[in-house]
Amino acid sequence: MPDPLITDIGGHPAGEIPKEEMNQLYWEKLMIAMFGVLSSKGIYNLDEFRRTVESMHPDEYKKSHFYWRRLDAMANLLVEKGHINYNELVRRANERLASGRRDHAV
């Protein structure tokens, strides 16, 4: 078969299963919500999203965190579909990170 998808990890060796309860951060909840709104509107579908996750670099995937992965795939898909400009996204993200500016008052 062709190289398995990076997400196709059933049966791969792995260590202990992490048991700590992780509360969803507020921004993660918002992100999941926004993801849902976009897919409900047909901007993309779940299969396209999964396909985008699968196209991550394998090393990146291994190190990735579930919510960060979802965010990255969502952004990549929106760029792919021509809805947003990637460089602009990066610029604004860097500006936010530098300023620490949060506006959860959505």
């Binding site: 992490p18 918002l30 965010l71 620490g100």
Partner: protein
């Protein structure tokens, strides 16, 4: 850069209650910054509105393991409901007044011969509309990798062990269905009320990684 509640430098909208805002006190991460930038851009181009996001946020917060436990207990108490649950999980949830979505739901029954365990090896499929967000362990790569190949060793990590005569059956939620496990009703629970029975069922029992507690209140794990 650290923040306290006092020096954010912008006003909070207290008109609408918000879910926990633990991250107001946490340093911003690159991921959060990226999300906020993305949200800002999408709102600017009119692809989403803040109201739509908040509405969805609220909608997403409805699912809870309590709903799953209710379905199980109803099945224990009512053979007709149990039949419905095993044949059409969504219809059974709907019958309990739980808001359903398009996703198919299959209820898998534990029996004296079979213990069931659910995993999604390819991503993290889970009946979120019913149960809410899955626990971190369920979406971990370690669980996704090992549950299909060494379920008994995984179950041991959850404090569960089954004799060889009982089959451990793994369900990989790899395509279009979502699953919950219907544990067996524990011994000595006759006469308990529905609420008491619901309280015996932990979240992890609904995917097969735990068993319902005993009436004494201690969970045999």
């Amino acid at each position: 850069m650290t923040h306290t509640d006092d020096d954010h430098g912008h006003t909070h909208d207290h008109a609408t209650p918000h879910p926990t805002r633990e991250d107001d006190d946490l340093e911003m991460t690159p991921a959060e910054a990226k999300f906020l930038a993305l949200k800002e851009m999408l709102i600017e181009i009119g692809m989403v509105t803040p109201a739509e996001i908040m509405q969805r946020l609220e909608y997403n917060s409805r699912g809870t393991p309590h709903y799953g436990a209710k379905m199980i207990v109803k099945s224990w108490l009512d053979p007709e409901f149990k039949k419905l649950a095993l044949n059409d999980g969504r219809a059974a949830a709907q019958a309990l007044g739980i808001e359903i979505t398009d996703a198919e739901l299959m209820v898998i029954e534990n029996t004296p011969q079979t213990h069931n365990l659910v995993v999604c090896t390819l991503c993290s499929c889970y009946p979120r509309w019913l149960l809410g967000e899955p626990p971190a362990w369920y979406v971990s790569k370690a669980y996704r990798s090992r549950a299909v190949k060494e379920p008994r060793q995984v179950l041991k990590e959850f404090g569960l062990s089954f004799p060889e005569e009982i089959e451990v059956r793994v369900h990989d939620s790899n395509a279009d269905l979502r699953y919950i496990v219907m544990p067996m009703r524990p011994e000595g629970t006759e006469g308990m009320s529905e609420e008491e029975l619901v309280a015996l069922i932990p979240r992890d029992a609904l995917v097969g990684a735990a068993l319902p507690g005993q009436p004494s209140g201690t969970v045999t794990l």
